[in-house]
């Protein structure tokens, strides 16, 4: 059974500490995404990015970082687009329980 998550008006977690793998599945469902191993791999890379740089990455740095961590095949925007449509940086950070990338770009 789904736990009730507190979300902000954009559907991101209001409290990042609420994140769990179960929460991620719920957040993914709200984006019509069923999480596969390929998704989880990216989600954990994103969490690591946030842990390491204290930032929620927009597309370009995300692609670069995925390429560094998981190899060039996966570090491509088309690959991320297939997993987290329509806007991988926004959708994936939501599911990974990162702050909403600031509207700065």
């Amino acid at each position: 059974m789904d736990t009730v998550l507190t979300l902000d008006s954009d559907g991101h977690l209001a409290h990042l500490s609420d994140w769990s793998e179960q929460a991620a599945e719920q957040l993914a469902a709200s984006e019509n995404i069923l999480l596969s191993d390929a998704h989880w791999e990216i989600i954990y890379v994103l969490k690591e990015f946030h842990q390491r740089f204290a930032l929620s990455p927009p597309m370009r740095p995300l692609v670069r970082y995925v390429a560094q961590q998981l190899g060039k095949e996966k570090g491509r925007s088309i690959y991320l687009m297939q997993l987290f449509p329509p806007s991988p940086a926004r959708v994936a950070s939501k599911i990974a329980g990162l702050p909403r990338p600031e509207n700065c770009l």
Partner: protein, 189 residues
């Protein structure tokens, strides 16, 4: 006799010409508050049979101003305002005002001053209105400091927006764009 400045489309035409019109039978409201394309302007003036005084500026520049200082706490905002006025009076254009860091407080409509002192946020709004300037307040910096437009206020569940007229809230991309496309970038911190 009032002078009205009309700019060509500064967004697409670099080094835009500035025109000074002498106010002869010209409806001030119809020209002072909108940007008119160079071509359309000439056609319009022909139709209106207005005597046109064109002042060609030797070296017209498009300035971008990055304003980091809050109103009153430091002089930075007042200095930037004086610079902007002097640039416009000298026939130059302002590509964009970008309010960032504590500068976002210059866009707060809540700022209130005694009758014998001028309100910097109000003066900025008036300058923006008068010259139809592009003014951007960084959304991230402003949100952190409690300067929000109606839409953002609603989104974050706050009681109401407090953004002064004339400003737009947008991202740092607008600063990057201004840095790449304005002729000169000035920081006022």
């Amino acid at each position: 006799m009032a002078n009205y400045c009309i700019k060509s489309d500064t967004m697409t035409q670099r080094g835009a010409h500035e025109f000074c019109l002498q106010n002869e039978g010209l409806n001030a409201n119809s020209v002072s508050c909108q940007t008119i394309f160079y071509q359309n302007l000439l056609e319009y003036l022909q139709l209106a049979s207005v005597k046109l005084l064109i002042k060609q500026i030797a070296n017209p520049m498009n300035f971008a101003l990055l304003i980091l200082g809050p109103p009153y706490s430091t002089q930075a905002s007042a200095s930037a305002l004086r610079f902007a006025r002097a640039a416009l009076n000298g026939g130059h254009s302002i590509y964009r005002l970008f309010f960032y860091h504590d500068g976002v407080h210059n866009a707060s409509a809540m700022v209130t001053t005694p009758q014998d002192e001028s309100s910097l946020p109000q003066q900025w709004s008036e300058l923006i209105e008068q010259h139809q300037l592009d003014s951007v307040v960084c959304i991230a910096a402003a949100t952190r400091r409690g300067v929000l437009n109606e839409q953002e206020a609603k989104r974050f569940g706050k009681t109401g927006g407090n953004l002064s007229p004339g400003h737009e809230v947008s991202g740092l991309g607008q600063l990057v764009d201004a840095s790449l496309n304005a002729d000169r970038v000035m920081t006022f911190g």
